[in-house]
């Protein structure tokens, strides 16, 4: 078997971060190659380099496809050679039909006039290849996620695919849909189409993959051949997480006190699909001066839990009780949750955290304007002093507090979001992925702020997909999977292997 793809020495820098460091990946013709690694290990970045999202020249290293060196400048370049990537978030237009989506950008047209009968015939062919038997004129919005996934694959087939890249294709599929999809990959393999499968689900990988490449912190750890010897999940997990914890976390000397915050029996349904439980009977306690971590893979329901708790800002049919200092509190609206002493700093700074057009000052005081106002009239001088104070305390690097938030780096934007919630003076602060996408130095500063918060006797709930961060910062760790808390352990006894195992085991029992 020859090699269809050879990526050698790929290095990709982002400002302040080395996302990929000398990564090698080689895919043989007609094999299913699994690519695995933790969130943020660099899988998606590597695939973006391969497909030309990051154009040639923005990275170092060499890509050889079918023996020839390539320098893709755009996705169109890589697609022309038959490299097709199917993203986690599907790129389909919901209100167009299957046929229209299949040929979007590649319309079956003659001088700009679409030949619908030819398109329909061709669509039927393609759909039968992927085993989808819905009429081609069905709207995308009317079919389930599993079938949408198949439409994406059929679309790839319409472009004469040589190498198919699937980014966590089964993340949102149920078991039978997943099996069907994996079966399809095996069929393609028989026809000589190679695939790269990015997945967190190790059982799937052991089912279909020929070889596995493990990425960690932007470097290739190893490539394992599944045919030489059966690979145990432990072996893969060790490869994914095996790294040492250095001094990336500031020391904290405070000891947690009495129970401060308690959630009992928290449930929430999906906002668009009533009856589909997204948060299932979650119990959680936070002590005074304690950092409680919530671990889990993407889509585990952590953000959904936090947002449904914070004034029902997510989901519907929300049930459960919340207590602060032993007294039941009302968290039914955001206003009431805030007044009860809760705060939630979002994982999506730009969409949900900041008013980007406004300056630092206005963003800092937004959640607590009463703190700088008298009878509804804002005292500008005291507002400026508050913002100045936070700029200094949190070391927000900026040209001044009048700088617009949109011009700040990710780390400094995050500090503005934190300032906003610190100024609201909550008892319990939920931080959702507070260090996502920011560089190591800024991360350290965020951890220091967390330490200050708990030193003041507050409670912090830290949602993070980076396990080392949880192990380094939290006192106690909950593990969440598929909407439920599946494990709880003191950080001192926790390890990445243990967390991963808790997720994997629960995944098998829950299914």
């Amino acid at each position: 078997m020859g090699t269809i793809l050879e990526m050698r020495g790929i290095t990709k820098m982002f400002p302040g971060v080395k996302a990929l460091d000398n990564v090698n990946l080689s895919v043989r013709e007609g094999e299913i190659h699994a690519l695995i690694g933790e969130n943020g290990a660099g899988k998606s970045t590597l695939m973006k380099v391969l497909s030309g999202v990051y154009p040639h020249g923005s990275y170092e290293g060499e890509i050889r496809f079918r023996g020839q060196e390539q320098s893709f400048r755009s996705i169109a370049d890589s697609e022309r050679l038959g490299i097709i990537i199917i993203h986690q978030e599907l790129a389909l237009v919901p209100l167009l039909s299957i046929t229209e989506n299949l040929f979007l950008g590649n319309e079956q047209a003659n001088r700009g006039v679409i030949d619908w009968s030819a398109a329909t015939v061709r669509a039927r062919e393609l759909l039968s290849l992927v085993g989808l038997h819905d009429p081609p004129e069905t709207l995308i919005t009317d079919i389930g996620v599993g079938k949408q996934q198949l439409v994406e694959i059929a679309k790839a087939l319409s472009k004469e695919v040589k190498l198919l890249i699937l980014d966590e294709p089964t993340a949102s599929l149920n078991e039978s849909d997943s099996d069907a999809l994996l079966g399809l990959l095996l069929e393609f393999k028989a026809r000589g189409i190679s695939s790269i499968l990015i997945s967190h689900k190790l059982n799937e990988i052991s089912k279909v993959a020929d070889r596995v490449t493990i990425l960690r912190d932007g470097t290739t750890v190893e490539t394992l051949d599944c045919h030489e010897a059966p690979i145990s999940q432990d072996r893969i997990i060790k490869g994914m997480v095996g790294r040492e914890l250095s001094d990336r976390y500031p020391r904290r000397d405070t000891v947690p006190g009495e129970v401060l915050f308690e959630v009992k029996g928290w449930c929430a349904d999906h906002p668009a699909h009533p009856g589909r439980a997204v948060v299932k009977d979650v119990n959680l306690t936070v002590r005074r001066g304690e950092v409680v971590g919530i671990a889990g893979l993407m889509g585990a329901g952590r953000t959904e839990f936090a947002m449904s708790l914070f004034g029902r800002s997510y989901g519907r049919n929300i049930r459960g009780r919340a207590f602060l200092g032993g007294r039941e509190i009302d968290v039914s609206t955001i206003r009431r949750a805030m007044e009860s002493g809760l705060a939630y700093a979002t994982e999506d700074r730009k969409q949900y955290g900041l008013v980007l057009d406004n300056d630092i000052r206005h963003n800092v005081t937004l959640a607590n304007l009463a703190g700088v106002a008298k009878r509804g009239v804002i005292d500008h001088e005291s507002e400026i002093q508050v913002a100045e104070d936070f700029r200094r305390r949190l070391r927000i690097r900026c040209s001044g507090i009048f700088q617009e938030a949109v011009n700040l780096s990710g780390g400094n934007q995050q500090k503005v979001v934190l300032s906003k919630w610190l100024f609201a003076d909550p008892q319990v602060l939920i931080l959702d992925e507070p260090t996502r996408g920011i560089d190591v130095g800024a991360k350290y500063e965020i951890y220091t702020i967390i330490n200050q918060l708990v030193a003041e006797g507050r409670g912090v709930v830290l949602i993070s997909s980076e396990m080392p961060e949880l192990l380094g910062v939290a006192d106690r760790i909950y593990v969440m999977n598929q909407g439920a808390m599946v494990a709880e352990m003191p950080a001192a006894e926790a390890s990445q292997e243990k967390i991963m195992r808790a997720i994997m085991m629960s995944g098998e029992t829950l299914q």
Partner: protein
Amino acid sequence: MSVEVNLPVRPQRESTGRFLKNHMRDYGMLLSLIAIVLFFQYMTDGTLLQPLNLTNLVLQNSYIVIMALGMLLVIVAGHIDLSVGSIVAFVGALAAILMVRFHVDFVSTTILCLLAGGAIGAVQGFWVAYLRIPSFIVTLAGMLVFRGLCLILLAGQSVGPFPVEFQRLSSGFIPDVFGPGKFHLTSLLLCGLVAFGLVAMNLATRMRRQRFNIEQEPLPLFIVKNLGLAAVLVYVGQLMASYKGLPNVLIIMSLLIALYGFVTRNTVVGRRIYALGGNEKAAKLSGIDTRRLSFYTFVNMGVLAALAGLIFAARLNTATPKAGVSFELDVIAACFIGGASATGGVGRVTGAVIGAFIMGVMNNGMSILGIGIDWQQVIKGMVLLAAVTIDVYNKNKA
């Protein structure tokens, strides 16, 4: 991935030139208005700023300015209101029916009409804020509905004239406490007093900021700006005093401008409207009741449109089915010329007022020059486009 921008933290050295450059967007519109005034003053051989014409200019534009205040809040909140022209007509008709047909006194009529405007705003606001129907559609429907209701009320005819007290709302002038004379001394003194008050307020703010060591505009600029402000006010006062004095409607308008300027800059409600328009989700997650806020911006717009309708009807001394046609476009244009952003979150009261006067001065100036209504529209359209283009360009560059 975001780009790391580590700008120096220390304050930059004060320099008038650089300050002006950084704040060009703030001063640009004012300078444009001054330039346009000087241009037409020259082209019309001084007719533009003659006391009579200046007074007319104010009377003609007062209702646009008043509605622009409400529209600015609506636009900053991320919405639009196309129905204001029809509300003007409807409220004018309502006032006419009440006063002319049912002989209701003018105070009760005014109150009833303002309440009606608020109710109209509340209905539209409910649809926009709570039923989540895009404001463009809701107010487009409102535009048709209230134009139609106006026609029904008036049965297609003009109704008038109004009682004299009511006409004074628009065509009256403030009384001269020094007794009737050729020169209206009270008006001049009032303008002088306001000028003095404004300069004193600016100075107090500046000194307070200095005490807190907050960066602000350089001293020479501050002096020039305040002297200019005072001079313009006194000059306008002197001009108007040599005619009939200050019109009542100018007093109403000035008070409203001051009120809305204060609300947008200094109050919690004002700040929240900007946050709502800037990023509704973030505002909501910061504990702001965004729906209620949107709702009240429309109620407020309705009340101001009703007030404009009363003033307009009083000025014409009759209610006609054609009243207020295309006013919504002038009002919206005033806000955009004044630097408001079509996507919400950005805009100032002073900008909207300046925008309204830019439109007003151009209307007036071109009419004096004898330019037909056809070319006036073309020129106004191009000015709107140019103003917004320059603004967007400046913003992207900054």
